[in-house]
Amino acid sequence: MSRIDAWFAQTSRALARHTSRRSFLARLGALLAGVASLPLLPVARAGAARAPAPGEPDPETPAGDPDDCAYWRYCAIDGFLASCCGGTHRSCPPGTEMSPLTWIGTCQNPVDGKHYIVSYNDCCGKNACGRCFCQRNEGDKPIYVPPKSNDIDWCMGRVGVIYNSTVSVVIGLSTEKG
């Protein structure tokens, strides 16, 4: 390894340490668009802005934009954002079915500072969407702790195992951190 290489490697290692803390492989289908996290491969963003939802951050800001991985509800999401695939942040794309089984995260709404229970339901029955892959891995546990593992394909049972995308539904206020 040449001296320049060595120097470059060091610098970049340092950089990496302070930049990305997002973990890597999500569920299988999510692979397709994972490269979104490549610096040179920006996620295709929707052109149209939408009206701010009451009580939620300005959709022009990342924390308020359901097409952005930084959207506040996505704090423990893992997969393709349904809102980039024909659905919204809380409804599945046409022709898919929402899995009744799910894993749950607790995310803080920057507007009211409260922590909400967010249910991450998978949209199932069509092959992987391929757009807006997003994974934020906080509190993820191995597969043998199913309710807390984001490596599991939650499409199962009647809706079948084919994974398409994921929604984030507010199902209540967190009683713990609320």
Partner: protein, 424 residues
Amino acid sequence: MRARRRGAFAFRIAFSGLLSALLIAGLAHAELPVETTGQVESLPATLGPHWAWAADAVLRRTALVDLESGRTLGTLDGGFGITSGLFPTRRREIYLPETHYSRGSRGERTDVVTIYDAANLLPIAEVRIPPARAFNTLVAGNASLSDDDRFVAVFNYTPATSLSIVDVQNRTFVAELATPGCSLAYAAGPRRFASLCADGALLTLSLDAAGRESGRQRSEPFFDPAKDPITEKGVRLGDTWLFVSFEGLVHPVDVSGPAPRFGERWSLLDSADRREGWRIGGQQHLAIHEATGRLYSLVHQGGADTHKQAGTELWVYDVAQRRRVQRIELRGPGFTYLGVPIGFDWPWPFSRIPDWLIRFSPDLGVGLVAVTQDAQPLLVTGSNFSGALAIYDALSGDFLRRVAPGNMTTVGIQTPWAGVEAPR
């Protein structure tokens, strides 16, 4: 199995318990309203004229994209081959010929025409057809919908040639009609289909109200497949099919009458164009805008046998006047890595890299073009080795934007919903 069911049951109980607990908490204190799970979107009531279906060979699907917002609206998985739908005007449905194997790439083969609800992209019916569908690189021509929206003809190649007739209104398979020596299916009247024959003739098959063969005509050869064959990528203007030969000659075929009438040929290329080596070419090299009678043709500079080479320019013709009215310098659709667009927002000069590359490497060029049929038509162009699409104003020829539906490749573009104005 008992174990599993018991477990699932237990899990659901526990889970719904948790849920209701949370819901109560939610109702008690939440600033944000508690939302319900299970919601699935449907498409807007008006099927947009500025929506396009883009087929992907790797993901074996077609994706519906809004050409204005760039949003992906939904997808249809199609099994083996190019996923290419048929779109009736009288019913809010989509007909999709599909082929599946019981073990993925092996096992028992099943061919079907699936009827999808165009409002929610769910399959609502399925008609089994003989496991004989032809597989090739055509986007259109392997299956066709009769002008009365009643019958679908699916082209079979085994290597014997035939058409499977499906009654999509009654959801039944009607018959398989042999078309010896002739291939493909083009709608040619309320209940008639046309096929192209190896000797340059046209075979027309008429159906009765039940979909049975009521007559067939085989024309004299209207072109010479040995000397200058027409491509299978014909486009339709009213009752006239326009086929273009390797050498750029337009062969009009009027199917309004009882027998097809073969109109006078005219050339897309003048002697100067030929001197400069311009040729037609591409997997989907023709598009037509009915209202204005404009024909769009992908062209490139190349030698013999380049009839499948992608285009560097898009030439626009007034069909009535049979003359070229515009030359559009093509932009590169851009690249996608595993479906993710690369450098759509790079600054100049990097933003032009795709445009330069399509000229350096024709294999990367623009091989597909389609046009929407509304009054403010958009041109949609694609390249086989990218999932990205480049959008132009079809009247001015101005490049507007790039969109990426999440595909890895583009092997077909369809713009079916032209009838209605887009909601503004």
